[in-house]
């Protein structure tokens, strides 16, 4: 890979410098921290020095305690729910965008991207204000006469899911749009011509052919959702924990760095596992042009 990259750039010195900068950046800011985390995860916890010798796998055995399994499942539940809602909202949105003219499409994309210029932590605080007992949402509902007293929205699984969907929505939409753009519209005409109803066209043509976008979108939403501790911190109650909260607490509250690191390593491994599954699925789709009909019939 590196060699071919060199060949294609004109000046070898220039390209080598670029590659060296990139590699050292990755080495210093990506590889080294990960190695440190991995190392810490097999050390012994210590309240003053954070982590000390000797090596031990105790942190990893603690992962299997029922308490953490519960936190993990809760976190999984919140992230999966958020991912599903992103998909349910993002899929029709991406479909709509792909059918609009270039002007409207760019306007809508722009509107979706604009909030990204504000830090997501700040936006989460804003969401907290909106969802409070005297926030805009409750005021609006009461003003419309739909409810008599404010609904408790904050500090619930609902609030966390809402926050996650709000922040991660564009990550679902972007890969879906590219999938819809690649979808050849004559295939839908061909399916119509062969007698397929709208529902049949959707399930048998559109869904299988946009599957790469669906999988990519779900992964890019699900993986960060597991780690977005500040969303759960600000919007969730005591029980609505994400894996990210658990990790943060180990480092900042419990001062148990090895256990926090072990949790981080677990999260990283999960990501790798899912990326591997995605890569496999993608290869399969590219080889066969789609997933098997039977799986989606």
């Amino acid at each position: 890979m590196l060699r071919t990259a060199c060949v294609h750039l004109r000046s070898p010195l220039f390209s080598r410098t670029l590659i060296a900068i990139t590699l050292s950046w990755l080495g210093i800011f990506v590889l080294t921290p990960h190695l440190l985390v991995m190392m810490t995860s097999v050390l012994t916890p210590d309240t003053t020095n954070f982590a000390v010798w000797p090596l031990t796998f105790e942190a990893y055995t603690r992962l299997w305690e029922p308490l953490y399994a519960t936190v993990f499942l809760d976190s999984l539940y919140l992230s999966v729910t958020a991912t599903l809602f992103c998909l349910l909202l993002g899929y029709p949105f991406a479909y709509l965008l792909s059918r609009l003219g270039p002007v409207w499409r760019n306007v809508l994309l722009f509107l979706m991207i604009v909030p990204f210029w504000t830090n997501s932590l700040i936006r989460t605080y804003a969401l907290k204000l909106l969802m409070g007992n005297r926030g805009l949402f409750n005021d609006l509902l009461m003003g419309l006469g739909l409810i008599d007293s404010p609904i408790q929205m904050l500090y619930s699984g609902f609030a966390v899911t809402f926050g996650l969907v709000y922040i991660l929505f564009p990550f679902m939409v972007l890969p879906l749009i590219s999938s819809f753009d690649n979808l050849d519209k004559t295939l839908l005409e061909a399916a119509r011509d062969l007698g397929a109803s709208a529902a049949q066209r959707f399930w048998r043509i559109i869904v299988p052919l946009t599957m790469p976008g669906i999988i990519a979108g779900c992964l890019i939403v699900f993986l960060p959702a597991m780690g977005m501790f500040y969303v759960a911190d600000l919007l969730g109650g005591a029980r609505n924990l994400l894996l990210g909260n658990l990790i943060k607490n180990q480092f900042l509250v419990m001062r148990d760095w090895p256990f926090g690191s072990a949790l981080s390593v677990t999260l990283i491994l999960m990501m790798f596992l899912m990326l591997a599954v995605y890569a496999r699925a993608n290869r399969r789709i590219q080889r066969k042009g789609g997933l098997d009909d039977a799986n989606f019939a």
């Binding site: 061909a190 399916a191 119509r192 011509d193 062969l194 049949q200 048998r204 299988p208 052919l209 042009g289």
Partner: protein
Amino acid sequence: MSVIQLSKVSKRFGGQEVLSALSLSVRQGEFFTILGPSGCGKTTVLRLIAGFEQPDEGHIKLEQTEISKTRAEFRPVNTVFQSYALFPHMNVFENVAFGLKMAKVPKAEIRGRVEEALAMVQLKDFSDRRPDQLSGGQKQRVAIARAVVNKPKVLLLDECLSALDYKLRRQMQIELKQLQRQLGITFIYVTHDQEEALSMSDRVLVMHKGSVQQIGTPREIYEAPSNLFVAQFIGEINVFEGLVEAELPDYSYRVRLAHGGVREVRSDFRFAQGEAVHILLRPEDLRIHYPRTGESPPGFQGKVIERNYTGKTLDSLIQLESGQQLRASEFFDENDPDFDYRINESVWVDWVHGWEHVIPQRPTEHA
């Protein structure tokens, strides 16, 4: 009996009229070709019949039933798309089975019919292949099998051979024609390739700017074009302008040619005295004589300015004294296989009386 009938169908896209009051009638079991230059609206006609577009005005009837409001998925017609539009996520078998599956045909019957259709297009052993593992010609055959397996009342083919190379295209033309005879299904074929249209069709409709120019058998279209557009679009043609001087018995007229000389011509059209006409002659209908010194054969004098050897014919470009250029095409004959022209050689051009086709210069109503 007509299976498809369009009457006074108009279609506009964004204010632009693509079809204007177009009428046509396709007979049961015929190979009907819609021929025209790109942008003439021929594909729109096909899409109206398939149901992908709705006419702004007019009626579309399938076997006497009005179908212009029927949705595409409920019309008993199938389309072979220009890009084939095979489903990339299904193998050949699943592609061909798709229509039957949608029609809820029992599984066992689907298997039999799909295999039969694949055998018909000589792709029996390709059921498990994915579309991207097929060549252009094979994709073409799958697309045809996928359509005919549903036993449609009419098969619509949209320029579906245009992506193939010349040799394969010739072969597929023959196969399509055979398939059509074998199945007895009405084919409506859209193309801009006049050679293809002439060689495959029972009848050809020539279209230009959204309206019908002529409907007829390939022979009628070629030998008796109804107007100058048809004449010039189908094959090559030489055009002489002239004025009718007098009507003679037996459908003949005496015509004074624009560049001099008077000819007697025959025509199926009726002309008034003084009317402007076009005299049309195909390159192969011209006769070329070498004048011997002092001799003055009938016809027009000119000189050869270009000659092309094409294998079976010698095609030449001859410039008359008036400046008009004519294309002539002569078959080699056994007695004179080496026959050729020198550039600038003097020749006389003539034609056999009665081989000309004379049409009025005024716009004509098509039959």
